[in-house]
Symmetry: D2
């Protein structure tokens, strides 16, 4: 018996990725596609501009789209790929009516009582669920995953925390799929890069402090590091590349950093979990998004070019699949963790 899952925002880029990743999932089965009013009652394949692969998975092709009304939805889990402006109301409505909402939207990420979770980084933050339900009086609850760029970054920062990480400067080269569909016009990005992504830098500079923070049973005490981000769009389909400059409280060595990366462990028993959370490549010119984005079925972060920069500083390149590890896969992995922890 599989858990029934519904998808909020099923026609967008991340919604499509949810559908693709849930095809044949051993624990979850898509039971409902929830759409905005104008699409209710219509057939999924007639409405979607399917872009993430050759064909729409057969199990959803003929599904009729349902309204954003919790009473009409039969599901155990609701995955949300909504834009943040509409996510706030709708996710709250579903959570208050008893659904488990695993959200990729940014609306609730920084709320005090909402877990912002990467299973390999801060699974204990799920403890906030109790705080949330008590405070809000909801039957269900909301768990969020971070922004795509944040996820790739924070997975690499987690193992550096114990070595004395203090300051991070990060310049990203982000894929087109991060802007959704139709997203970035081809005329804007051909033979070009765009050094701006609205709202992105703010998310990348704040979310890591919560993710790497300490849950004291009541709330998250933010990590005492600083993160500065400069975010740029490049003509790459999938895969965010990040140039990270990290400063530590003391002396560090390249091997020590590489070992720390390799030591980050996956959560046992989750179907979507990669074998290696971080893959460290030794070639001088890796990771590259086109070659490495599907590592671990898109769930691994690939790191390379770890270089020392004075006694207490290191720089490296991190790359991860932004719509898999950075979006749909992040929500699914969170849901799997909640199943394992018997929260669903």
């Amino acid at each position: 018996m599989k858990y029934k899952v519904a998808i909020l925002g099923a026609t967008g880029m991340v919604g499509q990725k949810f559908i693709q990743m849930l095809e044949g999932h051993p624990w979850f089965q898509v039971s409902a596609l929830i759409a905005s009013e104008r699409r209710v009652g219509k057939i999924y394949s007639d409405e979607v501009d399917w872009i993430v692969s050759k064909d729409i998975p057969k199990n959803v092709t003929e599904m009729e789209m349902l309204p954003m009304d919790p009473k009409r939805i039969d599901a155990d889990i609701v995955f949300s790929a909504l834009p943040s402006d509409v996510a706030r109301d709708i996710e709250a409505r579903f959570a208050s009516e008893g659904f488990v909402v695993a959200s990729n939207a940014s609306a609730f990420r920084m709320e005090d009582d909402v877990p912002l979770v990467i299973p390999e980084v801060n699974p204990d933050h799920l403890g906030l669920i109790d705080v949330q339900r008590k405070k809000r009086g909801w039957d269900g609850f909301i768990v969020t995953n971070p922004n795509c760029t944040t996820i790739v970054l924070v997975i690499t920062l987690k193992p550096l925390l114990d070595i004395g990480l203090k300051e991070v400067n990060m310049a990203s080269m982000q894929a087109l799929s991060g802007a959704g569909y139709p997203g970035v016009p081809s005329l804007a990005i051909t033979d070009n890069i765009i050094p701006f992504i609205r709202g992105e830098e703010d998310k990348v500079e704040t979310e890591p402090l919560k993710l790497l923070g300490y849950f004291d049973g009541k709330r998250i005490r933010f990590a005492d590091i600083s993160v500065s981000a400069s975010c740029h769009r490049v003509p790459v389909i999938d895969g965010h590349t990040e140039a990270v400059f990290a400063k530590f409280s003391g002396k560090v060595e390249v091997d020590e950093i590489a070992d720390a990366f390799r030591s980050l462990k996956p959560v046992d028993g989750l179907p979507t979990s990669p074998e290696n959370v971080i893959v460290v490549r030794d070639e001088p010119d890796r990771p590259q998004p086109r070659l490495d984005r599907n590592e671990g079925n898109g769930m691994s972060v690939v790191v390379g070019r770890i270089r020392k920069d004075g006694e207490d500083r290191v720089k490296y390149i991190a790359m991860g699949h932004n719509t898999v590890r950075g979006a749909a896969g992040a929500s699914i992995l969170n849901a799997e963790l909640m199943v394992k922890e018997k929260l669903i």
Copy 2:
């Protein structure tokens, strides 16, 4: 009467750019194209894979290519677009035989007695010419310009020095033309970025210290700042984009930084000099290489997105045309400065 100029390495990407920029130049006239042995005696248009514009300028199309032998060359100035490994011997040979060599190659850049010059940044470093000639016993001399990525960066760092600049982290997104022709294979860079450019980071981390250093009449005392670079290749034809994180010794403000950028003055009277050395754009999404690389005929550096990052830190985006301001135009501007300073 124009000065006669010869071009070393005339068939490569930068060599072509020299020819393109020198067409119709008011002071300089191409008198010789110097090539490697296998090309000597052949006609330029038969040998070159012309890529920088629609057609080869008519004044050089039918030129016969000459050997790397100073005795066979009739010229006042030799522009060098040689690869660094061959530049060392050949540039020295021409300088020793009395030629003024304005070089884009890296071979001599960091030599104690060789000026590494950007006219708007450190024109007084030309004083090293006397030191060089005395030390080496040459009739002529060598003056170099920096690496393309360094130039764009240092033009923006110069006005920040007086404000207390201490540390720089810089992530570059570099154009394909920087790798020459054929250079980067299309299969390597389509739907991809390559986070590695051989030798580049080392140049970008050392050359600024000399450029921003103090010439005491005998030698250059390097600037007391640190620069760390992470260099990446992106699918853009021309124009290097750089995300700069700058740390200062004290408090700084965005307006102060913008004013400093705008205050950098061009050298009066040089034909290739742009009206504005640095153009500051206010839009949230500029500079962009395809839109801004031809600003000031490719000789301006365009800056945007100046953002504060705590009290003493600022980040911004800088972009410049890598084969114009960053290569051929840099050497030509140096030669123009030397003419103005009556060094030629």
Copy 3:
């Protein structure tokens, strides 16, 4: 004294190109920018997503946008860059109120009494203006130019007519700018081509028959040739490339074809007219859109690779700038012709 010109649809891609090409035009001066209702009263630079060059020409930056009401517009000529569905009503309204409408829209192109004109191909078709005004009782009139792909094709077919042209198969590789802005999503076209452009093939198969037809004083008798087109979108910013297979009624030779191309004459005295209507290149790998699209300031068609294919067949490649020769420049050239012919 210049003619005052208004632009219908000034914020779109072709509207921007009109503005760019009219900057500094010796005969025409932009006097009004006409916009849809929601933009009326707003400032042009606030509303436009300027994409065709670095900066908006200064003469229009601060212009207030005016409504689609002929009584509110002070102009001698109205250039129309409207989408075809709205063009029908609005262009008719302006023509009926006495304006000369030079339209790039498809709405009226195939109407019996509306000239569809390329100055170098069928200037005499302007004779239809009298027919049109008589029939419709308008004070003004409408003159149209063809679809961008048609223009490039027909300019090369015109000189072949006298040699016995019978059948044409043409496969196009069309630039992104032809789809307007935002137009083609980058996710749809990166590492891809799209073998379909809505409505395009029908236009390319019918418009040439009218353009190459004979005006008998009352109407156009269509040319007796057949044209079949297969239209494809490729990741190129500007410049449509067309592979043409032409069949003749008798034997033809490559030199004869090349001579015919070179013999097509520009109309004397038109400011936007190129020196060479068709440029024939001899290299085996030309024309190429990035290298050749600005030939003749974008108004020349560049042809290459003329090859025989049996006795009576020839194939060749034609390329032209789709938003210059194929759109804004086409309307402007038509207006210039009308001024010369004293029709304005």
Copy 4:
């Protein structure tokens, strides 16, 4: 027990594709990698610029490269990915020494006594093997597959032959991987197409006549159709797209053509054979190379946009994976057919 296979030209693009497709092959096992003299004795992974996927298959990583000397090679089949100029001598040497050579090179394709085969199109042409061995006195023999562009085209022409196909005009939009590695420089193809591929059109115009010809027991009588090709390079990684204009001896209908495409049967029992040789898509904008190139693991040809063009003419788009169905997969499928036919 698997057949041992050797690969000639293992470091190039097609050689890599052979290795990738043979990993885990149920009938064949790579026993030798044969290289040019300067690479003999070196380890494969040290020499190859691996580009076709993330990592080199483990079974060949550490293989030592062997010389082009039949006496040193232990294999049942030799797959050749050699450039044509060297293929002639070396393939003959291996065939004369008793090896079965399945070649992707063009050297022997049009020889009277050498089978040029696509299993679904002309499997009976393998009968030429006897003719070849007798005539040349070889212990082994050579079987070739066509050029990549030819294969995609001919698979779609085969079912049209019985309907009365007479004339074909074809314009191709060919992928970058067809030019090998490093192949097309990124500076040459970014924001561009190149309307020329050396030698390609000649192959595409002659090979189909042999492939679609009749084997009378002694030689191939060429098909009585004409094929004209215009070949163009586009910025697509994999997948050749072809716009086909077909003329018939009589009236044809779209449905008839579609049915004919669907009726082409795979050869039973070959491991690399796709379920559907031709997949016909109904969407107006398919096939597209990025979406459809992996159909049937890259072995299907995908067809779409079948349109009538007068009574006796039809046009359509065909697309196939050029290095799979068009190169390595073609040779492997031929070898599988020979095993099935007990020729090996």
